[in-house]
Symmetry: C2
Subunit: 224 residues, 2 copies
DNA sequence: AAAATTATTTAGACAAATCTAAAAAATGAG
DNA sequence: CTCATTTTTTAGATTTGTCTAAATAATTTT
């Protein structure tokens, strides 16, 4: 197992994130993401290409190799486990977590991370709802679950409604619940199994919403 | 609050540790400690002198300034808190703890360390028994305590016996308990308040020793 | 399709941290 | 006290990661 410098790791991680959206990643795109200059990116790309971490032909953009992806997943795993630790154990707020994890993720002891994982109880999602890769770099993707089965306070996103009738959609619309809406269950009322949700609207405002069990049974979410 | 590079921090820390023993620290001494070359040390000393972290006249060795000591204590605090975390929470063994803490100590977020400190319950000693400086860099030195009051499994060292009679010394000698002997209390028996100790002899072997409450009340220790 | 614009790469420079080899200063042995 | 030895510093080179400015390639506009 080879070790990479902080700068190399940051480049690999950035390509990993950008490449999920578009296909190949361009020089300018990467330079913008890393707040560096295109010339510096080209230099680094040559080095990472020589180390067989990515595919790169001049003027063609970059794409991680299989090995490069493996390295990237290791970095992502470290980052997200630290985020979980910071939020869950040290009581950092969601916003603060990222910057500190950026530093901690470069500490390279494999044993440290595996023991941290164990200590945290093998969490599957970080505080932002992003999945945490396992020891082998596998991401255990979120299965769709009914919102009635969603754990309290776990960030999720509406991804499916099973009934597409006019009546249901009218109700959803009224409550500002749409595919893609970010949602957490804040409370479950045993009396009528209604749910209190906290949603984040497209305009980034949060709001409280009550939904009946009849509605809830038709809403499916996945962890964000 | 300024940030220092990993290399600068390692130099400051090494001087801090060496200077407690001898007075001024010499170039060769420091180079040996850091597994680097004397020429490299000289270069770094000039830089740290310019940053007012230490006093350095060519050929005269180095000594940390007040500011330098403050920085060193910050690094030591981080190192020892991480050691405590690794041993206590992640169940690393004593030997493994140091190397990983060497990496973690350079993560610079002040808030991270203070929250970690709080999470750990403001421990005063790391797993090796070394004191952990507080937020202000103060080291709270070990008061002498009677071995009957020593927490289980906390490494300590015999520093005083209150009764100096021939009878007591004979017994201590027989049990290989001397001033300076490293000792931990492994078990306290409620029935007769006798203690089971684990001691490390001068020849670095460990042994189990049982002592009565009468004897224990005369043995004073401090955290190592 | 040529010109203009944009993106990318190359060339050369720089700072940080290290090294080797050589010079200079301090120390210590006779 | 002088000469040999040891310690420390200086001088100059190297590596890594970055930059600016200029050159080149690709893309878009007219």
């Amino acid at each position: 197992m080879v070790n990479y410098s902080t700068s190399e790791e940051n480049h690999i991680k950035a390509i990993f994130h950008l490449q999920t959206h578009s296909g190949n990643v361009s020089t300018n795109e990467l330079a913008r993401e890393l707040r560096t200059k295109p010339a510096s990116v080209t230099d680094m790309m040559k080095k990472l290409r020589d180390k067989k971490l990515l595919h790169y032909q001049p003027y063609q953009g970059f794409r991680l190799s299989t090995e490069g992806k493996k390295v990237a997943l290791g970095i992502v795993r470290r980052h997200r486990l630290w985020e979980y630790f910071l939020a869950e154990k040290l009581k950092f707020s969601w916003e603060e977590v990222h910057a500190v994890a950026e530093e901690l993720e470069h500490v390279s002891s494999r044993k440290l991370i595996d023991k941290l994982d164990e200590y945290l109880g093998f969490p599957r999602f970080d505080p932002h709802g992003d999945p945490i890769p396992d020891t082998e770099g596998r991401i255990r993707y979120n299965p769709q679950i009914c919102i009635t089965a969603l754990e309290l306070n776990l960030p999720a996103q509406i991804c499916h409604v099973s009934d597409q009738s006019k009546e249901l959609l009218e109700l959803l619309e009224h409550k500002q619940l749409r595919i893609g809406t970010k949602v957490e269950v804040k409370k479950k009322f045993d009396f009528d199994q209604s749910l209190e949700l906290r949603i984040k609207t497209a305009t980034k405002q949060t709001a409280s919403v009550m939904i009946s069990v009849q509605l809830a049974q038709n809403i499916f979410v996945k962890h964000v």
